[in-house]
Subunit: 474 residues, 3 copies
């Protein structure tokens, strides 16, 4: 089969820059000034083992489709089964892998207007040098070219780290993790990259869930602290946070169903903890204790200096049968509305001006941008507005983000871009998308004379370099 | 009186296309490709009798003002009384009708920036060929020209059906309706259009309202099923849905104060049903039973295949004195916020991947677009994001709609445009508005290189033809 | 020190007008038609004594920084202490004042993209004729030039009133205020401006707060009405409203944590009132009585004709330690979400069509614009949608405002711009910003042929002149 004109993928150098002739030249100049700056990725989900062991990627489907719930979920909505995409499949054959890739390519039009199209096209063109539009006709050719590429040393994770211009990348890790992959990287004299763990204790903060007691037992074991009491839980957490910090962590990451963080008095905390350890805690008590646990994490953060990131309010595993068959994290989560102003008042009254405390707030509920997040970040020296995240890390929402928050918070109270991804190959495309869109926004401010070009150039640089370093203490 | 320059209505061929010189030529090309495609109208409120009996329209006011609460409510807000506009008036004289039309024309400026201006100007120019700007000076001339036109055979409903290029239109009908107008049309060998009923059972699902018991008695009579028990209610509903389906229905339509749909166990359902039949049900119990009823409708939909449309959360009849004088549906409804993600979880866990189930979700609360509706439609193969609807079926909200949902749901999870109107003459203008605005959005994606022109042309066509056919199983 | 090129402040005549070449010439024509129209400022916080006594401004910091919590809060978020900015400092020395001004200038970049930059640059250039970009290097020069200017008669408040082209300005006043500054102005034959008080009774409507009983005692004294009973409270309020009206007030202003307004029956009102007077009322009872009080204010408004403005839902004094040290109104308030449709139903069912009643609704929660405020104002002849306010009185939010409400409410149901400021020198810049942005929005409607240029010119004029006069009965 040979290429036809229809097959040729054109990835335009000005993509996502504003079309308006009064804006594009300005945006292009701003973008040119930042496009080649290093990537700082302080929040994401790349498995550290990939870099520690420099694991070669197995095949195009397990690299680009199976683990990427952005891709899976929209294919599922358009009729594909998750099983056919490799989700939850232990022995996925090469034929099945090739067939899954065909499903993606045959359904290529469903991604029109989505960020997945931008990311994937950028990956094809910029990472693999493949200039074919995905389709039934091109699926096998693309598959083969990717397969060929990832078999070469240039496409090992460590090589790509440098190819992509990554300066810092954080993973997401369980408090009980031994961080041996991070330690291996730290002890490897041939490795000069920066790969930091992130302390993600969510499951240990949900005392009304069935798994909690087992997790707390494990926490006791790995920390060497008796977790039979609330005070023990606190000490064990401090122990693990210290261990993470020793191993390079700069932040902890938190997501619960609400943003609540409120201290219980010690006796009540011990009482609820005892009930939880006895398996007798009610859901309401569980919420109260969890909010105390979150408050405690903030208190620890104000002492050990780990940056705290918070992104609440998602209905996890919305479709019960899918959860039953495939488990969590397969694209079945649905956002819900969230309230920050009142929920965070106790935490911020306690630590909001503490010198060592920094809190980055993410959301999927865009209504809180202008109403709560920008006002909070525009008052508290500890609070940063995080980037558009998850369902809204796409072009139009990223545009709305700057337009919603800049009036109250300016640029210096924002975290810089967060890719939040486990799709390693998409990291450059995601950062590139954001650099293009921020350049477009700044171009508007220049074109309507809110900023001079010098101010815009300085700000564009800050958004890529200064802000993530400041927000994550790098 | 003669026309002056001020009086001349200019309806520009490029209206509502983006002004940006980088966008307009692209938008125009896209719009030209779809502007003459047939109209598919799967959700609206045109009385079927108009088409069944080919009833001539009586006069300009009863055609264009009295039944149109978009027009009435804004005139009311600006000082007109609903009575003077003919609302609730049994013997409205020709003089009163002319006077009501003058009120509209004298107040023409209040409609600036609203869709009513676009619709009405399009109707004047495109339907009636009247090139006069409404004003005190032109009111009588416009009135007379419309009156003259609607007296001719070309302006009978059946003729307009073809003039407007309608391919399919759905009405909204009571479950107890005998559908004789639809049957008359179906049996008329001279009529080749498609006019389908829509099953709208809201009132029969609200067991705590005063009218409910009488309605359920009627339901029992028309279905021939004893509605003395919950099981009887279910059987009667299945009976009427089957009757509607036999008579061409493709969907059912639902609007309650929340989006809740949750099954009760059978005993509890029977218990609450008995209390409702005895007139003893509390409002809270009524909500619980109503949510079970909605769940049952979804279950029936998964079996009989009628598409389910859902658009909750409006405070009906907000102004009590207006409701007392004029009754419902006179423009006194006010939207409220709504939650979909948790409310729909039981229904979607049960039927979200059922092969025969399709659910179209509409809203007036725009906050749910990016937060809940697009994520739901981007996972569930059954869910479609409906069009901007009611208070937000206007230019700016339609623009926001695509910008809010496309990132998560793309284009293939959307329903296509819904006119939702009883204003028959405005149907072409409403669809035309949407085609212009979708062309403008697609032009942006082309201009910033997210889509090729071929992809945009294909998508523009899909939005007008493919998506409504798919979402409503036409 | 001399100026360098970097120091020169360029304030472009087209700033904030759309950059799009298809829009800017239209926007400029519209803006030119309204930019020099008088300023109507029916809601703000300028102290009346400034104008009554024509008090010279003391120094640049106490004029431009210390009282402006927009400026303070963002400096605080970026590391400045409120004390160093003069907040709550009784004996702030000239050296401290100069140092505070330096803090502002050194941190100038934090204001990029915020309205504070636009306002401040406009003040420097248009009010003081200072063409220096604020920076560490220019701070002292700017300080000195402002200090020199405000020592001259041309910069006294009364002179600036005329320089700014103010036609009407309202202050905000306590119900117990003797309004002597307003009376002094009214009795001054040399003063021809219009300075009206505004009745702001919030604290007197919160019976569960500690200060309430003392305030109600004072209310009894100043009104000469026994406030020992609920009926007495009502009579005392009517008395003070009448006193305000006699002294030129056109409106009352209300802000509570929700928008509730619901009548209690008289016996229940008396019972709760007695409990409140006895210091025994619970928070829940306090809310119920407060909502009755608000309802009573609406009833009084329907009789005495004072326009009612309502802007609920802010978490006051979010950071407890800051409140403890500096008190209220120092920038520590954070907005929260709000519901209008149901909350206002009792009030609007009672007074929504009363001939003398007018209600202007403001919000910081932008979600209510298209969902609730525009639909309410598009039905009720009494309701006006107020301007973007407080955290959202900035360029992007002002753009969103018109785009969110115009479809349902048009232009004639909006209040016109409100500056809501105590920063007297920023009043022209704030109104100018809004005129530029409204011109930009109208230019879009002209460019995509929704409005003719004549319609847009007429509307631009209405928004500056007609609407505020109508909404506030001037």
């Amino acid at each position: 089969m040979t290429s036809t004109d229809d097959d040729v993928l054109h990835v335009h150098p000005d993509r996502l820059l504003p079309a308006d002739p009064a804006l594009r030249p300005i945006a292009r100049e701003l973008y040119d000034a930042v496009k080649d700056l290093p990537i700082i990725s302080p929040h994401g989900h790349v498995p550290p083992q990939w870099l520690a062991d420099d694991v070669p990627f197995a095949d195009p489907t397990s690299l680009l489709i199976t683990p990427d719930h952005y891709v899976n979920r929209l294919l599922h909505a358009n009729g594909a089964s998750l099983a056919d995409l490799g989700v939850g499949q232990k022995d996925f054959t090469p034929e099945q892998s090739r067939r899954a890739f065909r499903i993606l390519c045959e359904n290529w039009k469903i991604f029109r207007g989505t960020p997945m199209k931008f990311w994937f096209e950028s990956e094809l063109a910029d990472v693999f040098g493949i200039e074919l539009v995905p389709s039934a006709a091109t699926a096998d050719r693309i598959y083969d070219q990717i397969a060929e590429a990832i078999a070469t040393p240039e496409f090992r994770p460590r090589a790509l780290y440098w190819t992509f211009g990554i300066e810092f990348i954080a993973t997401t890790d369980d408090p009980a993790d031994d961080l041996r992959h991070h330690q291996k990287l730290a002890q490897d004299p041939t490795w000069e990259g920066k790969v930091a763990p992130t302390f993600r204790p969510d499951k240990y903060l949900e005392p009304a869930t069935p798994a909690w007691n087992g997790l707390i037992d494990t926490l006791g074991e790995v920390s060497g602290v008796d977790t039979g009491t609330y005070a023990g839980w606190v000490a064990a957490m401090e122990n693990r946070r210290a261990f993470f910090k020793e191993n390079g962590a700069v932040s902890s990451d938190h997501s619960h169903k609400d943003a609540g963080a409120e201290k219980l008095d010690d006796a009540e905390a011990e009482r609820l903890y005892a009930r939880a350890r006895a398996g007798e805690i009610t859901p309401e008590e569980g919420d109260a204790l969890r909010r105390d646990f979150v408050f405690q994490q903030a208190r620890m953060a104000s002492e050990d200096g780990l940056v705290m990131t918070l992104h609440p309010a998602v209905v996890r595993n919305h479709h019960t049968p899918t959860f039953g068959t495939y488990g969590a994290d397969v694209g079945g989560d649905i956002p819900m509305s969230v309230e920050f102003a009142r929920a965070l008042q106790p935490m911020l009254s306690a630590f909001g001006t503490a010198p060592n405390f920094q809190l980055v707030l993410f959301t999927i509920d865009e209504t809180v941008y202008s109403r709560e997040l920008a006002p909070l970040a525009g008052f508290y020296p500890s609070v940063y507005v995080g980037a558009p995240w998850w369902f809204i890390d796409e072009a139009e929402a990223i545009k709305r983000y700057r337009r919603a928050i800049t009036g109250s918070a300016g640029f210096t109270r924002t975290s810089g871009f967060i890719d939040d991804t486990r799709a390693f190959l998409s990291i450059p495309a995601r950062h590139d998308m954001n650099r293009r869109l921020d350049s477009g926004f700044l171009a508007e401010l220049v074109a309507d004379h809110r900023l001079t070009m010098d101010e815009a150039l300085d700000t564009a640089h800050d958004l890529v370099v200064t802000q993530p370093r400041k927000a994550f203490k790098l």
